[in-house]
């Protein structure tokens, strides 16, 4: 037993050291020498190299291969985040440039949520708050890593606009709306808890100390605690909050499922160290029932029905992270196992999250 513990600790230490070599920690701790070292571009993390090869176009567009090759502000945010994590400034700048040229609003600092390869490329200028949050978080990391003040200014501008346009008071709660248009309805507001990137919201609070972010995080946790529906007591992808009574229920205009959106809830809440025990227990029960190798792609919260297909490996990565935290690292699926962008992104995010939890 002791040996196991020692081995676990040793493994953690090795992983931590390897990880720190590639991340901003080194710049922060080693001063100028660290910056010089950090500016050594592309230290060649195999997963990141594979991710770039498969999902990043030469111009910096991240392609959602499972969704008709469109791009999202979310995907651009993931790309920027990965590039900053693996100290790849060349990729970071390319992704940022493409994002600015194609998604950034002309009259503000937020980004259109979706870009299609077919014209018109941006038919809808609404934003996605998770994509904007991810971009801001990545910009902040880039600013710290490469000492670029402009990145920090951009991150602050995004967070400020998000606070003004996407945070609303619904009853007595402050909620982060999924986008600035279409979700704040007369009777109920629609919320997507997977848009609550807890670690990014924490950084938003430091970027905009006078903003609403700490309250948004607190109320987001409370929403998740109350979002226990169906057979397994899981949160739905889309949640409605009744304005008058403040009751919550799965939004009627969406399938009442724990699915491709909600799978990110345990990822982000675990990462932010605010995951409720009840969610962990629910995920554990699901993993026990179906096994880790046959997890459902979706679970209907009304009927208990599950998808006919098994979830992609990225889901397994999230379950492992949620259940085992940093200890999940050696068991996480490799990026090569994932066929599509979304699963690969989840896998890489879970890996980074587990490294940061070490």
């Amino acid at each position: 037993m002791l040996r196991d513990v020692e081995r676990s600790l040793m493994f953690r230490s090795i992983v931590r050291r390897q990880f720190c070599r590639n991340t901003l920690s080194v710049a922060g701790t080693l001063g100028l020498h660290g910056v010089a070292l950090a500016q050594t571009q592309g230290l060649g993390d195999p997963d990141w190299e594979l991710y770039k090869k498969r999902f990043m176009k030469p111009d910096g567009r991240i392609v959602d291969t499972g969704n008709h090759d469109v791009s999202h502000s979310e995907g651009q945010g993931y790309g920027l985040f990965f590039a900053s994590t693996f100290n790849d400034r060349t990729a970071f700048d390319k992704i940022l440039e493409w994002t600015r040229n194609n998604l950034k609003h002309r009259d503000g600092n937020l980004h259109s949520w979706r870009w299609s390869p077919n014209a018109p490329h941006v038919p809808d200028t609404n934003n996605a708050s998770d994509g904007d949050l991810m971009i801001a978080w990545a910009l902040r990391r880039g600013a710290l890593l490469w000492r670029v003040e402009a990145y920090l200014d951009q991150a602050k501008a995004i967070i400020r606009d998000l606070g003004e346009k996407c945070v609303r008071k619904i009853g007595s709660r402050l909620v982060l709306l999924p986008g600035m248009k279409g979700f704040d309805r007369p009777k109920a507001a629609i919320v997507n808890l997977s848009y609550y990137l807890m670690p990014a919201l924490g950084r938003a609070a430091s970027l905009d100390p006078s903003g609403p972010w700490k309250t948004v995080m607190d109320h987001g946790q409370q929403l998740l605690l109350a979002s226990r529906f169906g057979l397994w007591g899981l949160p739905p992808d889309w949640l409605a909050i009744d304005r008058k009574s403040e009751r919550i229920y799965p939004a009627a205009s969406f399938a009442p499922r724990f699915s491709y959106d909600a799978i990110r809830i345990p990822l982000y809440f675990k990462w932010g160290k605010v995951m409720p025990a009840s969610l962990k227990q629910s995920l554990y029960a699901v993993s026990q029932n179906y096994s880790m190798t046959a997890l459902p792609g979706w679970i209907d919260l009304m009927t208990g029905e599950r998808s006919a297909y098994n979830a992609p490996p990225g889901f397994r990565a999230v379950y492992l992270l949620a259940l085992n935290g940093a200890d999940a690292l050696p068991d996480l699926p490799g990026l090569a196992e994932s066929d599509d962008y979304y699963s690969a992104s989840l896998t890489l995010l879970a890996r980074i999250a587990s490294m940061e939890l070490v």
Binding site: N126, A128, R185, G230, P276, S291, M302
Partner: protein, 228 residues
């Protein structure tokens, strides 16, 4: 009209549940159609059928297509002047994705646990939930289970049907500092760390069910710009 669909329609309908009905009051009714656990053979059949469809049609059934990213589909009831996110369905479907998952010829039973999981996967032990008990789980407003439901609830498979997985070493799990966020259910109080992991799934679900839903302790003083 299949009975199950009728129940669905009646209980969920087009309208959102009324606030006082929140918490899936209708779950007990719906649990009548909760899929029973399947044996590994049935699961194999499903996979075999999918493989067959792919082999015959040459079409790869991609679970991530179509319905998968529902998050990309916008609410369509936005107020006047609003521009909700548009559904991805407006995009021409590439040939390799032309078979939606929903139209796959096989129904959607729970996939049976894999007996021989590949190395590296984590098993927490062989557990099969008591489907009847699990089906009654109602985490919100309670409605007594009807005798009708009890009679029609899926039955637990006999022990002989339950695949016995070889117990593998449990992943070392430390107590997570973030797990106690204000609401460790009362039912769990007094238990240490991860003791609940040793519980059978059915018991864990029953405890989760018994745990009260945490009432939000909402901070009334809000950030200045959001005060009304």
């Amino acid at each position: 009209m299949p009975d199950s669909f009728k129940i669905l329609q009646e209980s969920f309908g087009d309208q959102p549940p009324l606030p006082e009905q929140e918490g899936f009051h209708d779950f007990n009714a719906l649990s009548r159609i909760a899929p029973p656990l399947v044996t590994p053979d049935e699961g194999e059949d499903t996979r075999a059928t999918q493989a067959h469809v792919q082999a015959v049609s040459g079409v790869r059934i991609d679970p991530s297509s179509g319905e998968a990213k529902s998050g990309r589909i916008a609410p369509d009831e936005a107020g006047a002047g609003a521009q909700p996110r548009m559904a991805d369905t407006s995009v021409a479907t590439p040939a390799h994705m032309s078979v939606p998952v929903a139209s796959a010829p096989t129904p959607a039973p729970p996939v049976a646990p894999s007996v021989n999981a590949p190395a590296g996967s984590v098993h927490f032990g062989a557990q099969v939930p008591d489907a009847r008990q699990a089906g009654m789980l109602n985490l919100g407003a309670q409605r007594p289970a009807s005798p009708d439901f009890m009679a029609s609830a899926p039955t637990r498979p006999s022990r002989a049907e339950i695949p016995e997985t070889t117990p593998t070493s449990r992943v070392f799990v430390q107590k997570q500092a973030d797990d106690g966020v204000t609401v460790t259910p009362q039912a769990m109080a007094g238990e240490t760390d991860e003791a609940w992991r040793a519980l059978p799934v059915s018991e864990l679900l029953a405890r989760l069910r018994a745990a009260p839903i945490a009432k939000p302790e909402v901070q009334r003083r809000l950030h200045g710009i959001f005060r009304r």
